[in-house]
């Protein structure tokens, strides 16, 4: 029981008449890396939005770190230890790396309410530590995000997770817009997280990447989970996964859902 970091029971989200997510039962164990796959509109992002407090679920339960949770906002989820790298990167272009890492939770020297004095030195030092830990390569952390490549931006977004000792990292298509080298850099960061035993939910369309990086694949189709594939211990091919994604196959235990 205690090795489960995240569990959802009957997680459901309706947008008016649209059933974007239906009865999702999902389990993530500590140290496990799981990929969520599925076609566009299959419910992957909707699923993540319910867990991270971006939206409020219609029905169902989310149990995080042994406790039922109900996050009002992404900030609540973040404070509880769920760090999300959103598809839209949520970085402020005109600010530098430490500013972005600590945005909304700045370290302060003197607490004067909204006019608290920032502790730039401590934020820089902890930024460097986070970059070391994740193996993120940024030439100059004082550079603004505007002057960075897509890969560097992604790395900054991911490095946030390492800064705050999160209990769970969620990445929504982190390499969708990246070149080959940059993709490799992001994948290395994911491996670093794996080695550090930090659990991860990865949304990805990239079959090669998924087979390289994760232990397990959960496939969504038309708002429901239709397969749970233990690719680490069982023989599954890319074609199998595609078959589940497109609807050619459904795992027996999810038959009623399809």
């Amino acid at each position: 029981m205690s090795d489960i970091i995240l569990e959802t029971r009957d997680l459901t989200k309706h947008y008016g008449g649209v059933h974007a997510l239906q009865g999702a039962n999902f389990i993530l164990r500590k140290g496990e890396h799981v990929a969520i796959m599925g076609d566009n509109g299959a419910g992957k992002s909707t699923f993540v939005r319910q867990i991270t407090g971006v939206e409020q679920r219609t029905r169902g339960e989310v149990i995080f770190d042994g406790k039922p949770v109900h996050f009002e906002s992404p900030m609540d989820a973040r404070e509880a230890g769920i760090e999300t790298v959103f598809q839209t990167l949520a970085l402020a272009d005109e600010l530098d790396v430490p500013d972005n890492l600590f945005l909304g939770r700045e370290l302060v020297r003197f607490n004067l309410g909204p006019f608290s004095i920032l502790d730039y030195k401590a934020m820089r030092e902890r930024t460097m530590q986070a970059l070391e830990k994740t193996g993120v390569k940024i030439p100059n952390i004082r550079n603004t995000i505007r002057n960075m490549s897509g890969g560097q931006r992604q790395c900054v977004a991911i490095a946030r997770t390492a800064t705050f000792h999160s209990k769970l990292t969620i990445m929504d298509e982190p390499t969708a817009a990246l070149g080959v080298q940059e993709t490799a850099q992001v994948e290395n960061i994911v491996r670093t997280l794996k080695a550090a035993g930090e659990p991860l939910i990865l949304i990805s369309h990239n079959m090669r990447q998924v087979f390289d990086l994760v232990d397990r694949v959960v496939v969504f189709r038309r708002g429901r989970i239709c397969a749970n594939l233990d690719i680490k211990n069982q023989e599954f091919s890319g074609e199998d996964v595609v078959a589940y994604i497109t609807g050619a196959k459904t795992q027996p235990e999810y038959e009623d859902a399809a």
Binding site: A90, L112, L131
Partner: protein, 360 residues
């Protein structure tokens, strides 16, 4: 050493303390160039120097009288420009401070009147004698509170009804001007207490400059070294990112516009005190001059970029141009035409810089 990093691709080393060429340097160079142009024109057309004491009238290096005029005439609008700077950095715009100056000047002056003028009752009295000769703190507080309330109204409208800042503050611009005229049915309000008069005229006339510089330094520190400042830049840079990072964007915007209104109120005190009178038409077009100062100073209208150093330099450029035209004895018409040209040129340059930064 802690600031050194070898995180570069291919093991390149970067010095984290080394910063890019700051935009403020460009504005500073522009200021110098404009001064040099006036020096050259002065030598050709007038046979005298613009800023230097060429005729030994003062026995100093610089023409101190002109320097004082340059700084004095931008100090009062400069106080407004400080507020406009943080509003524009947050991605908004404020068209109301000029009218807020008119309204707060009228109301504050009503609480700053003296009962006896040369032994006669005050001919412009608004209130009865019990409300005259009040301590100077009363009109100051009144002005600050009215400015803050007007600014807060702007902020609440923008943050919670989601109407564009342009519209919300345009409404306040018209309404506050109307209120300023209504307050005394269009009559000017005059004869303040000596204490009140000293705010704008004290220290040999330098008091407004000191207030402007003090506020500029204070707000520079606030923008660069406090959570408030960081969040202002973040919201102007990427509002969604700010929201997702847990910044209370709506509450912050209310605070930004409230502070802008408060600064307009402060500016009104200095202006009314300096002129020893308040009129409903005070501060007309000040908001546009203030926005022009920020834009010339390199504050991006897109939000997120620029600093108060830029605004102060922009204000100085503004003052130099006005004084320069007076110095050359050119008509005010030319002054305004050139002012308009410089505002547009500053924005074009900013956009050009921005495009270059992206395509690099």
């Amino acid at each position: 050493m802690a600031d050194q990093t070898t995180h570069g691709v291919g093991g390149l080393t970067f010095d984290a303390r080394k910063r890019a060429w700051p935009n403020e340097m460009n504005v500073f160079i522009a200021l110098i160039v404009i001064i040099l142009i006036f020096e050259a024109l002065g030598a050709m057309m007038m046979g005298q120097s613009f800023l230097f004491d060429s005729n030994d009238r003062f026995g100093t290096i610089f023409n101190e009288a002109r320097l004082k005029i340059i700084i004095l005439q931008v100090a009062i609008i400069g106080i407004i420009a400080i507020g406009s700077t943080q509003v524009i950095i947050s991605g908004g715009i404020d068209l109301s401070p000029g009218s807020i100056v008119g309204l707060t000047a009228m109301v504050a002056m009503s609480f700053a009147q003296t009962a006896l003028v040369n032994g006669n009752p005050n001919p412009k009295a608004i209130f009865s004698e019990t409300w005259m000769d009040l301590p100077v703190i009363i009109p100051i507080l009144v002005a600050l509170i009215i400015g803050m309330l007007a600014g807060m109204t702007n902020g609440l409208l923008i943050a919670y009804t989601r109407i564009p800042p342009f519209i919300a503050t345009l409404g306040m611009m018209v309404a506050a001007r109307g209120a300023a005229k209504w307050w005394s049915k269009g009559n000017p309000i005059s004869f303040p207490t000596d204490q009140f008069a000293s705010i704008g005229n004290g220290m040999n006339g330098w008091a407004p400059v000191l207030i402007f510089v003090g506020l500029a330094v204070l707000f520079h520190l606030i923008l660069k070294h406090t959570v408030y400042g960081k969040h202002t830049y973040a919201i102007g840079s990427n509002e969604d990112a700010a929201r997702m990072s847990g910044i209370k964007v709506a509450r912050h915007k209310v605070l930004v516009y409230t502070i802008a209104g408060m600064l307009a109120g402060l500016s009104a005190i200095v202006l009314a005190s300096k002129n020893l009178t308040a009129q409903a038409g005070m501060g007309v077009m000040y908001e546009l001059d203030a926005i022009a100062m920020t834009v010339i100073g390199g504050i991006s209208l897109a939000g997120g970029r620029g600093s108060l150093i830029g605004t102060v330099l922009g204000a100085l450029i503004f003052g130099v141009i006005i004084s320069g035209f007076t110095f050359l004895r050119l008509d005010a018409y030319y002054q305004e035409m050139v002012k308009g040209f410089i505002i547009v040129a500053a924005v074009v340059l900013d956009q050009w810089r921005q495009r270059r930064a992206i395509t690099r």
